[in-house]
C-alpha cells in the first residue's frame, strides 16, 4: 500500500503478514510439550499463569508424541471417540457445503481446521454444563448426542427445523444438549455466558458454562464486559478466545496490537492460558483444568485457543482475495485431525485402514442423514415451515396485534 501524497501525515495501519502473491511462512513455535507445569486449578491465581498466558500449552509434539504434565491421560477409546467426532464434523461440513453449492442450503460455515476446539472442549466438560457457542462450535452437538438429521433440517430451514426456519443455517439451538442458540451478532454470547454461569452459582448447582469468541469479535464491548463481570462476581465460566488468525478478511493484527490475546485476562485477575488449538489433548486438558477450577468455586479461566481458519469464512467468502491460498499449509499447528490420528497410530491404537473405514462409515452416515433430512424439505423446493410460524414465539403468547397481522396474512 502506498501513501497518498496529498497529506503530510499518516495513520499507522497494520497489515496481514502475507497477502495473495506473497509466500506465507511462519516462525515455528518456541514452545514444546512439557514446557509448562500444571498449577493446582483450585488455588491458582492469575499471577501464577503469566507464563502460561505468554507461552503455549501443548501436549502433542510435531511427531504426534504426547508428553508433559498437561497430558490428560485419556484412554484409547476416548481418543478414538474424539477423532470420530472430528472426522464426523469435517465430513458433515463438506456435505453441507455441497448442499449449499447446489442451492439446498442458503449459506454455510465450516469448522475446517478448528474441529478440535468444540469437540475436545465439550468432551472435557460434564453433561450438565452449559455450552454457549459461536457459529464455529457446532461440533459440540455431536458430543452431546444431537441427531444429525435434526441438524441438517435446521440448516435447510425446512419443516423439521427445530427453530422453524427463522435463523440462517448453522445458527443451531439444542436445548436438550444445553447448547444455547447461536446468534449472529458476534460477541454477544460471551458476556451472556457469564450470566448463565452466575445463575448456576446462585442456585448452587455444579454447572459450569463454556463460551467462545473469535479473535475479531474480541474487539466488541462484550469481551470486556465478560471478563470484568466474570472476575468481579467470580463466575464459573470458561472464556475462550478462538484466535484463528482471521476475521473474514481482517487479520488478527487488527484485533490486537501485540499479536496476543491470552494475556489480556491477567489484569482482570483471571488465570489465563494459551493453548494449541489443533492439539486435541492440550485443549482437552486445559479445559478440564478450567472446569475443575470453576466447579471448585475458584472462578473463571480465560483461554486463548491458537488455531487457524483453514477454510473460507463462510460460503459467501473467497479468501484467495486476501491471503495466500496455501497459507494454512504453513500453519505451525498443522491439522487437528491429522495430529490426533497420528498420535493414535503412534500408540498403536489406530491405523490408516481403521481411519479409512471410519471415514467411509461416517460418509454413509452423513449421506443417509442428508437424504432423510431433505425428505422434510430443502431450501430450493420446500416445504418450509408454514408461514404462520412467523407469528409464534415472538412472545410467550400471541398478542392481539400479531394475531391481527397473522389473520391478515392468512386471509390475504
Amino acid at each position: 500500500m502506498m501513501s497518498s501524497d496529498d497529506s503530510k501525515g499518516s495513520i499507522r495501519v497494520p497489515d496481514a503478514p502475507f497477502r495473495p502473491g506473497e509466500e506465507a511462512s511462519f516462525d515455528s513455535w518456541p514452545w514444546k510439550p512439557g514446557d509448562f507445569a500444571m498449577p493446582d486449578p483450585k488455588t491458582c491465581e492469575f499471577k501464577d499463569t503469566t507464563e502460561l498466558a505468554n507461552g503455549l500449552v501443548r501436549v502433542l509434539d510435531d511427531d504426534g508424541v504426547a508428553s508433559g504434565e498437561w497430558d490428560p491421560g485419556l484412554s484409547a477409546e476416548e481418543l478414538q471417540n474424539g477423532l470420530e467426532h472430528m472426522v464426523r464434523l469435517r465430513i458433515f461440513d463438506d456435505r453441507m457445503m455441497k448442499m449449499q453449492r447446489t442451492g439446498l442450503l442458503s449459506f454455510y460455515m465450516r469448522s475446517l481446521g478448528e474441529e478440535a476446539v468444540a469437540i475436545a472442549q465439550t468432551m472435557a466438560l460434564q453433561e450438565q454444563d452449559w455450552i454457549f457457542p459461536t457459529y464455529r462450535q457446532p461440533g459440540a452437538q455431536f458430543v452431546r448426542g444431537r441427531d444429525m438429521v435434526s441438524m441438517i433440517c435446521h440448516c435447510i430451514g425446512n419443516e423439521e427445523d427445530n427453530i422453524k426456519g427463522r435463523q440462517m443455517p448453522v445458527h443451531y439451538s439444542y436445548r436438550e444438549g444445553r447448547f444455547i442458540s447461536v446468534s449472529s451478532p458476534v460477541g454477544t454470547q460471551f458476556s451472556q455466558a457469564v450470566g448463565v454461569a452466575l445463575a448456576s452459582s446462585y442456585k448452587g448447582l455444579d454447572e459450569v458454562t463454556i463460551t467462545w469468541i473469535g479473535d475479531g469479535a474480541s474487539a466488541e464491548g462484550d469481551y470486556h464486559y465478560a471478563l470484568n463481570f466474570a472476575s468481579v462476581f467470580n463466575a464459573p465460566v470458561i472464556l475462550n478466545v478462538v484466535n484463528n488468525q482471521w476475521a473474514i478478511s481482517t487479520h488478527a493484527n487488527f484485533a490486537t496490537g501485540i499479536g496476543d490475546f491470552a494475556s489480556r485476562g491477567l489484569p482482570y485477575g483471571l488465570p489465563s492460558i494459551r493453548v494449541d488449538g489443533n492439539d486435541f489433548l492440550a485443549l482437552y486438558s486445559v479445559t478440564k483444568w478450567a472446569r475443575e477450577r470453576a466447579a471448585s468455586g475458584a472462578g473463571a479461566t480465560h483461554i486463548e485457543v491458537l488455531t487457524y481458519r483453514t477454510g473460507a469464512h463462510s460460503s459467501s467468502d473467497d479468501p484467495s482475495r486476501y491471503r495466500p491460498g496455501d497459507e494454512h499449509t504453513k500453519w505451525p499447528g498443522g491439522d487437528p485431525v491429522v495430529r490426533l490420528k497420528e498420535h493414535l497410530i503412534n500408540i498403536g491404537e489406530w491405523s490408516e485402514e481403521s481411519h479409512t473405514e471410519l471415514e467411509e462409515k461416517i460418509d454413509s452416515e452423513v449421506v443417509e442423514a442428508y437424504k432423510e433430512a431433505v425428505k422434510f424439505g430443502d431450501l430450493a423446493n420446500g416445504p418450509y415451515p408454514s408461514a404462520d410460524t412467523i407469528f409464534t414465539e415472538v412472545y410467550e403468547e400471541v398478542p392481539w396485534h400479531l394475531q391481527e397481522q397473522h389473520d391478515e396474512m392468512m386471509g390475504g
Binding site: 452449559w130 454457549f132 427445523d161 427445530n162 427453530i163 422453524k164 427463522r166 435463523q167 445458527h171 439451538s173 439444542y174 436445548r175 444455547i180 442458540s181 446468534s183 451478532p185 454477544t188 458476556s191 451472556q192 455466558a193 457469564v194 450470566g195 448463565v196 454461569a197 452466575l198 445463575a199 448456576s200 446462585y202 442456585k203 458454562t209 464491548g221 462484550d222 470486556h224 464486559y225 465478560a226 470484568n228 463481570f229 468481579v232 409464534t392 414465539e393 415472538v394 412472545y395 410467550e396 398478542p399 392481539w400 396485534h401 400479531l402
Partner: protein, 323 residues
C-alpha cells in the same frame, strides 16, 4: 392507610417479588448497598442479602448481557438502568438478543428480564438526564414496553412485568417519583395490573386524550383548563397497547389528542395516530393532534419550553373541537 409515593410503591413491588420468588434477583449501578440513586431499592439488600440485590460494574451492556444469561438459566432478573438516557450501550443486547431469543431458538430459550429505568424530564437534567426513549423500543418485536404514571399503577404494573415471561422495558417517570400521590398501594395484598391494559383516568365525551408517564398528570390539568369533556387514557403498556379502550373511546368522541414528552418525529404518538387513523377513520371528526417534545435534544434551563404543558395541550384539545 398510608399514602405511598412512587419510589415507595416500586420498592414495595420489588420487595414482594423478592419475597415470593427465589429466582428474582436485582442488580444495577448503585442499587445494592446504597439502594439506588433514586432510592428505589432502599433496604432491599439489607433485607434479602447481597447475592440477591447488588451493585455492578458501571456497564449497561454488561448488566443487560448478564441479566439475559441469568434469565436463560432460570432466574428472573430485574435490573435498573440508572437513567433511560444510559440504556443505549445496552441497546444491542436488548433489541438483538433479549427481544429475539425466544423466536430465534424456536421457543427453546427465553429470558424474562425486566429492565427498569427512570425516564423523562422535569428535573433540569438537560440532554442526558431527561430523555424518554420509549419509542426506540416499541419498534422491536419481542419486547413489551410499559410506562407507569402513578404510585398505584407503578406497583401493579411492575409486578406483572416481573411475572411476565417476556422481556419488559419498564419506564418510570422520574418527575413523579416523589409525588403527586395517587391511590394507596399498600404492601399487602399484592396486586397486578395486566400488561396491555390502559387506564381510563378521566371520562368524557368530546375528545380522547391519550398519554403515558408524567404527561398523564399534565393532561389532566390541561383537560380541566380546556373546559372540554374528555376521556383521558393512560396507556400504561405501549406494546402491546390496549386496542379496545383506545378504539372504543375514539368511536365515542371522534376527536383525539396524543401527548408525550419525547420528540415528535417517530415518537410513539406517531404509531398511535397512525393506528387510530387506520381503525377509526370514519369516526374522526377532526385531525388527530400530537403534542410532544420538540424535535431537538432536551435542553437544560429551558426545559419548560421544551416539554408539553397544560397550555399547549389545552389548545390542542380546543383545536380538535374547532373544525
Amino acid at each position: 392507610m398510608t399514602n405511598m409515593n412512587m419510589i415507595q410503591s416500586l420498592n414495595s413491588a420489588l420487595d414482594i417479588m423478592l419475597d415470593r420468588d427465589p429466582d428474582v434477583i436485582i442488580f444495577g449501578e448503585d442499587v445494592g448497598y446504597f439502594g439506588g440513586v433514586f432510592r428505589t431499592t432502599d433496604g432491599l439488600q439489607e433485607k434479602h442479602g447481597d447475592h440477591r440485590v447488588f451493585d455492578t460494574p458501571l456497564s449497561e451492556g454488561g448488566i443487560a448481557a448478564t441479566a439475559f444469561g441469568m434469565g436463560l438459566n432460570g432466574l428472573r432478573p430485574i435490573v435498573e438502568i440508572q437513567f433511560a438516557d444510559y440504556i443505549f450501550p445496552a441497546y444491542d443486547q436488548i433489541v438483538n438478543e433479549m427481544a429475539k431469543i425466544r423466536h430465534r431458538s424456536g421457543g427453546e430459550f427465553w429470558s424474562p428480564v425486566t429492565l427498569r429505568t427512570p425516564a423523562g424530564g422535569g428535573i433540569r437534567g438537560g440532554h442526558h438526564h431527561s430523555q424518554s426513549p420509549e419509542s426506540q423500543f416499541t419498534h422491536t418485536p419481542g419486547l413489551k414496553v410499559v410506562y407507569c404514571s402513578t404510585p398505584y399503577n407503578a406497583k401493579g404494573l411492575l409486578i406483572s412485568s416481573v411475572e411476565s415471561n417476556d422481556p419488559v422495558i419498564f419506564f418510570e417517570p422520574k418527575r413523579c417519583y416523589r409525588g403527586p400521590f395517587y391511590g394507596d398501594p399498600h404492601k399487602v395484598p399484592t396486586y397486578r395490573i395486566p400488561l396491555g391494559q390502559a387506564r381510563m383516568a378521566l371520562e368524557g365525551s368530546e375528545c380522547t386524550v391519550i398519554s403515558w408517564g408524567a404527561m398523564v398528570h399534565v393532561c389532566e390539568q390541561a383537560i380541566k383548563d380546556s373546559g372540554f369533556s374528555c376521556d383521558l387514557i393512560d396507556l400504561q403498556t405501549l406494546v402491546p397497547w390496549d386496542k379496545e379502550t383506545v378504539v372504543g373511546s375514539i368511536e365515542k368522541t371522534g376527536r383525539c389528542v396524543i401527548v408525550h414528552e419525547a420528540p415528535k418525529t417517530s415518537g410513539f404518538g406517531a404509531e398511535m395516530s397512525a393506528s387510530i387513523q387506520e381503525r377509526c377513520f370514519y369516526h374522526l371528526e377532526s385531525p388527530i393532534v400530537r403534542v410532544t417534545g420538540w424535535d431537538t435534544p432536551f435542553p437544560h434551563t429551558t426545559e419548560w419550553d421544551y416539554m408539553p404543558g397544560p397550555t399547549r395541550i389545552a389548545a390542542a384539545i380546543a383545536q380538535t373541537q374547532e373544525d
